[in-house]
Assembly symmetry: C2
Homo-oligomer: 458 residues x 2
C-alpha cells in the first residue's frame, strides 16, 4: 500500500477510506459514468480531519481532489489514479438556523435542497436554486460560486455567503465565520474561497444569508415570436414587477421541442413558437400580487409582447413547467453531447446564437444546438449534439467559444473553468489577470496539491 494511503488510514480509520478498487465501483460524476479512478478516497468527518488530511498530503506532495455532489459541469472533480479524493459527504450537518439574525450555519457537505427545506421549515428562505439541488452541496456551490435561477433577484452564491471556514493546503484552518451583513474589519478573506473551485483551500463550513419566505409566488410560461419581444417583455416585467421578478428563463424552440412531446414533458403551450420564457415573481401581498401578475400578463398579451401564456393552477403544475427547463434527459441520450455556459452582453445574443448554430451546422450536417439560458444576467447555455461519434469536444468548443472573444463574452458564466475550459481561459481573461491568479495559487498552495490543473495551470 502506498505510504500516503497508510498515513491517511491513520487519520480517518478503515471505515472511511476506500482504496482504488472500491473507488472504481463508483461513477466518476453525474456527467461521466466511467468508473472513478483514484489512489484512495477519504471521507472527512470534521474540520480537524480535513486539516490533518491536507497536512499529510502536503507533506507528501500528494494531489487532492475535493468532492461534493459531483454535479459540476467542467470535469473539475474527475480524479486520476495519482490523486487522493477528499469527500465532504459526511460533513453534512445543519449546525444552526437563526431566524432573528437571518443566518444558517452549515457544513460544506450539506445538500442544497436539504438546507432549503430545513430553513423553509422555520419560515425562512435560502434563495440559491438550481436543477442539481437534490445532489449538489453547499461546499460545491461556494467553490463554484453557483448561479441558478434566482440570480436576478438574489445574486449568485457569493452574495449569499456571510462567512466561511476553509482549510489551506498545509492544513491551516482559517475560520472566518462572520454573521454580519456588514463587516469591513480587514480583508474579506472568504472571497479567496468563493468561485476558486477548491484550488486555494477546502471550504468546510459556512454562514449562509437567509431571507423571509416570500408570501406569494406566481409563475407563468409564455411564448414569444422574436428575441426583441423577449427583451421588451423582460424590460416591461422589470419595470412593472421591479424587484419581485425572481426568475426569467428563456428556451429556444429547439430546446423546448426536444424535451417535450413523445416520452418527454407534457407541453403546456403548443410547440412551434420561436421562444418560450418561464418567469416567476415573489411578493409580500398574496392577494394584490396575484392580481397584478395577471394584469401585467394580460397587458403583455394585448400589446402583442407575448403570444400565448400558461399560468399553472397548482404546485404540481408549477413543478411541471419548471421540469421542462430543468430536466433534459431527452437531450442527454445523444452521445456525445457537450454542455456550454457562457455570458455576453444581451444586445449581442441573437447574432451570437446564430453564429454558434451556423458553426455547428457547418461542421456536422446533422448537428444540433439546443439553446436556453437566464438572459437577464447575460447567461446562455447550449447543448451541442454533433450526431456523429468520436471525441468532438475540441471542435465543438471552437464552434461555441470562437465567436465569443470578439464580443467580450465569458467562457464561463456560472459553471467555472475546471479542467474542461482551462485552455479557453485566455479567451476571457488577459495575461496579467492569469498571471495574478497563478501568483495567488503559488502563494496559497505552493506545492500545487489542491485540485491541480483546475482553473489555472501551475
Amino acid at each position: 500500500m502506498d505510504a500516503i494511503v497508510e498515513q491517511l488510514l491513520k487519520v480517518v480509520g478503515k471505515g472511511r477510506l476506500l482504496t482504488a478498487a472500491a473507488v472504481a465501483e463508483r461513477p466518476t460524476s453525474f456527467w461521466n459514468a466511467a468508473p472513478m479512478q483514484a489512489k484512495a478516497l477519504v471521507f472527512a468527518q470534521n474540520t480537524e480531519e480535513v486539516s490533518a488530511i491536507l497536512a499529510c498530503c502536503n507533506a507528501h506532495n500528494q494531489s487532492v481532489i475535493t468532492h461534493g455532489g459531483l454535479t459540476g459541469c467542467v470535469a473539475a472533480t474527475d480524479p486520476t489514479l495519482d490523486d487522493v479524493v477528499l469527500s465532504l459527504d459526511k460533513m453534512d450537518r445543519i449546525v444552526e438556523i437563526d431566524p432573528v439574525g437571518g443566518t444558517a450555519v452549515v457544513e460544506a457537505g450539506a445538500i442544497l435542497q436539504t438546507v432549503q427545506e430545513a430553513v423553509a421549515a422555520q419560515g425562512l428562505y435560502f434563495p440559491l436554486d438550481l436543477g442539481a439541488r437534490g445532489s449538489c452541496t453547499i461546499g460545491g456551490n461556494i467553490a463554484t460560486n453557483a448561479g441558478g435561477i434566482n440570480v436576478l433577484r438574489y445574486g449568485m452564491m457569493r452574495s449569499l455567503v456571510l462567512g466561511l471556514e476553509a482549510v489551506l493546503a498545509d492544513g491551516t484552518v482559517v475560520s472566518s465565520m462572520n454573521r454580519m451583513l456588514k463587516n469591513n474589519a480587514g480583508y474579506d478573506l472568504k472571497q479567496l474561497f468563493i468561485g476558486t473551485e477548491g484550488t486555494l483551500g477546502v471550504v468546510t463550513r459556512a454562514v449562509l444569508r437567509l431571507f423571509p419566505q416570500p408570501a406569494s409566488r406566481q409563475t407563468a410560461l409564455v411564448a414569444l415570436v422574436t428575441f426583441d419581444h423577449v427583451t421588451a417583455f423582460l424590460a416591461m416585467l422589470r419595470q412593472r414587477l421591479a424587484d419581485s421578478l425572481s426568475a426569467f428563463e428563456i428556451m429556444w424552440a429547439d430546446y423546448y421541442e426536444a424535451v417535450t412531446g413523445e416520452n418527454g414533458h407534457r407541453a403546456p403551450l403548443e410547440r412551434g413558437y420561436p421562444f418560450y420564457v418561464v418567469f416567476e415573481a415573489e411578493g409580500s401581498d398574496p392577494d394584490a400580487d396575484g392580481k397584478r401578475f395577471e394584469r401585467v400578463l394580460n397587458e403583455a398579451l394585448d400589446d402583442g409582447l407575448i403570444t400565448d401564456a400558461a399560468i399553472p393552477k397548482s404546485e404540481s403544475e408549477t413543478r411541471a413547467i419548471w421540469n421542462i427547463r430543468e430536466e433534459f434527459d431527452a437531450i442527454l441520450e445523444a452521445e456525445p453531447v457537450y454542455l456550454y455556459d457562457v455570458s455576453l452582453p444581451i444586445r449581442q445574443m441573437v447574432r451570437y446564437v446564430e453564429d454558434v448554430r451556423n458553426n455547428v451546422r457547418a461542421r456536422w450536417p446533422d448537428g444540433q444546438c439546443y439553446t436556453l439560458g437566464h438572459v437577464a444576467d447575460g447567461n446562455l447555455h447550449f447543448f451541442v449534439v454533433p450526431n456523429e461519434s468520436g471525441d468532438l469536444h475540441q471542435v465543438s468548443d471552437e464552434c461555441v467559444y470562437g465567436p465569443l472573444a470578439d464580443i467580450g463574452g465569458s467562457v464561463s458564466a456560472e459553471h467555472g473553468i475546471g479542467k474542461d475550459k482551462l485552455r479557453w481561459l485566455s479567451h476571457s481573461r488577459t495575461p496579467a489577470e492569469i498571471e495574478l491568479m497563478r501568483s495567488l495559487k503559488r502563494g496559497l498552495d505552493p506545492k500545487n496539491i489542491l485540485n491541480p490543473g483546475r482553473v489555472v495551470s501551475a
Copy 2:
C-alpha cells in the same frame, strides 16, 4: 531634492507635482485640519502614469499613500513626511454609460455624486449613497467597500462593481473590466482590491452596475418608544414593503436632540422620543406605492408600533429630513470627538449600546455618546464626546470596543481599519485570518510600499 521626487517629476511633469511646502497648504483630510505632511504629492492623469509612479516608488522602496476624496474615517489617508502621496483627483472621467447593459465605466477619481447625477440624467440609478457623496470618490468607495444608506436593498460597494482595473505595487496593470453580471471564468480578482484599502493595489477604473431609476420614492420620519418597537417596525416594513424598502436609519434621542433645535436642523417631529427612524421605499408604480406606503404607516400608528410620523411633502422637505441624519456639525464642534462604526447582531444592540454609554459615563462624568445607525444591517455609529481635553482616543476606543469582542461584533462595519483601528483588528479577526491577510499583502506588495501600516502590519 530627494532622488525619488526628481524621478517622479520626470513622470508627471512640474505642473502635477507638489513638494512638501505646497502640500502643507492643504488640510490632511475632512476630519483632520492639520497641514498635510508628505515628501511630495503627485497627480496622475491616467493608468499608465499610475503604473510609472508605482514602478518608480517600488524601485526606490518608497511608501505611497493613495488619495481620493479624503473623507475616510480611519486616518487611512494621513501621510507623513516620509510618504509620497498619489492623488487620483485628475482621473475623474465618466468614460461611458451604457443604458442597455446597465453599466457605467468611470475613472477612480470621479466623485460619487457626479456619477449619480450623470447616470440619473440617462434615466438610470447608481444606488451607493452616503453623506460624503459630494467629496468621496469611486476609487475610495471601492477601496473601502463603502456602505451607506441603501445597503439594505442594493448591498455594499462590493455588489455594485462588475469589473475594475488596478495597478499593483510593481506597476503591473491588471485590467479586469468585466461588464457581465455573471462571470466565473477564473478567480474573481476584483475582490482583491475591494475593501482592501489600497494596500494590495491602486484602483484606476471601474465598471459600475446600474439600476433602473425607481419610478417612485416615499420617505418618512417616525418616532418610537422602545428598541423593541424599532425592530418590530422594521420586521413589519420588511414583510409589507419587501424589497422596496431601501433605507432604514435609526437615531437615538441623544443624537436627534444634539443636531436639531437652536442653530441646528428644524425638528419635523417633537424632540423627546427615545428613538427616531428615517426610512425610504422605492417602487415601480407611483400611484399604488404612495397609497400602500401611507396605509402601512397608518397601520403602524394604529398598532402602536410607532408613536408619531412625518411625511415630507416636497423634495426639499425630504432633503431636510435626510440632513438630520447626515449633517452633524453641532456634534463635531466638540473637541475632541471620536466617531465609531461597528456591527453586531441586532438582538444584542440594546444591551451593547447601554454598555458603551455606561463605559463613557464612568470615564468622563460629562461625557456624551451619540448613537445612530443603519440597524437593519447590524451597523451602529457612535460619536463619543468626552467633554474633557487631551488625546483620549485610546480610552474612548476601549469604551466602545471593549464590550464588542464577547458578542462577536466587528470593529468596522463600513469604515475600514486604516491606521486608527489597526490595533483593534485582532478584536474581530482570528490570528489565522490576520496571518492570511499578511501573507496576501506580502505576496502582492513584497516591499510594503502601498499604504503601509494600514489594515495589517507588515
